[in-house]
Symmetry: C2
Subunit: 224 residues, 2 copies
């Protein structure tokens, strides 16, 4: 699923930012966000009340309104930070060219998948993924994040990767748009299943194996 392929990914401890892009430093404000992420990811946005959140944080309802104007602004702030985080999964354009010329397609795809799974396995990020999936059908912003920032952005990134590989003669010629779809859509579905299985703490061994088998199958079909 495409990622900083250049090296081991250092742990990113970027602070949360608010809707004005200012870093969030107040411990209670951070605690409110992470508590909200935890609760929303289990019961959905409308299934969680301000009371639930503040009770867990250990403050009164009214105190929350010193940090966020409304429940919607709280969710919006969570989504804003998720967007930024997802963008950082893919390697920056300026490094891409040299990576594609040297690393084998197979290794590139496998390492991309590994990095992507690392993003999803982050304890906080996993919950936000769940919220995005969960709110997709109710919240236009969540829908936009999924369709554009995730599906759209990754597909177009992968299309450019395949196009470059074809130009370099590293894989068999084909429509790079179709290749991107064939490679990526199964992973989207499998990630959905993966996230879902983890809700109940069920085993994800089968689906993780499925992802690796998909990469192998796909690589065998595109290589000369």
């Amino acid at each position: 699923m495409s990622a900083r392929q250049d090296q081991e990914q250092e742990q990113e401890l970027e602070p949360y930012i608010d809707l004005n892009e200012a870093p969030i430093t107040s411990p209670n404000k951070i605690k409110i966000m992470e508590t909200a992420i935890d609760l929303f990811s289990h019961r959905g946005f409308s299934g969680v009340s301000i009371r639930d959140i503040t009770k867990e944080v250990g403050i009164k309802e009214s105190s929350l309104y010193n940090h966020f104007r409304s429940k919607d602004e709280l969710l919006g702030t969570i989504f804003l930070n998720f967007r930024r985080s997802v963008t950082r999964i893919m390697p920056p354009k300026e490094h891409l060219e040299s990576i594609l010329g040297t690393m084998s397609p197979e290794l590139f795809l496998k390492q991309g998948l590994t990095n992507f799974m690392k993003h999803i396995d982050d304890p906080v990020m996993e919950k936000v993924w769940r919220i995005v999936y969960l709110e997709q059908y109710r919240d236009p912003l969540a829908r936009d994040i999924y369709l554009n920032d995730i599906v759209g952005a990754i597909l177009s990134f992968m299309e450019s990767v395949f196009a470059r590989w074809i130009a370099l003669g590293r894989i068999k010629p084909a429509d790079p748009r179709v290749l991107a779809a064939e490679y990526q859509y199964p992973l989207f579905a499998m990630v959905g299943v993966y996230v879902l299985l983890r809700v109940d703490g069920q085993s994800t061994w089968d689906i993780e194996t499925g992802m690796r088998e998909h990469v192998d199958f796909f690589v065998s079909k595109i290589m000369e």
Copy 2:
């Protein structure tokens, strides 16, 4: 996506059934169900109140409790009927053998996709699909329906189809489980996108084209 491949699918006007499998005949009870389906599909289960439903139906809140013991029972009844409907997408075992021997794999897959899309395009069913996707992360029953009745059942059905084709020498030998995953997972993801786009009434032309391109690509890879 596999379906009654035998012929044009007659319009199924099977009545809804209640949790005791008894047909639902009361017009108001049917109206409650379809109103609930409509509202749940847009705002989610916990985003819709009994008041919203009964106001739309034109009865008082208390009257609803003559038909359903609780809001949960109402949702459970909707899901029960959905389960039955999904099972009927796939052709019965006894017809399968003769279909697989005569119909070309390409035609089988294309007609299966057409029939599946017909199921999703039914105005009521489309909304229930949306509810299932929407409630997956919150409701264990919705999760079970998606993972088992949809993903699991269709994958294992397709696995048996590919295994049979391989035994008949109609496609190249390969692991039928991997083939089923490679064929089906992209469609699951694309159907998710399709349903999502329709929430806002956006164009689904691209994703429908993507589905057809996937079938073509896949067929070209498995045929001798």
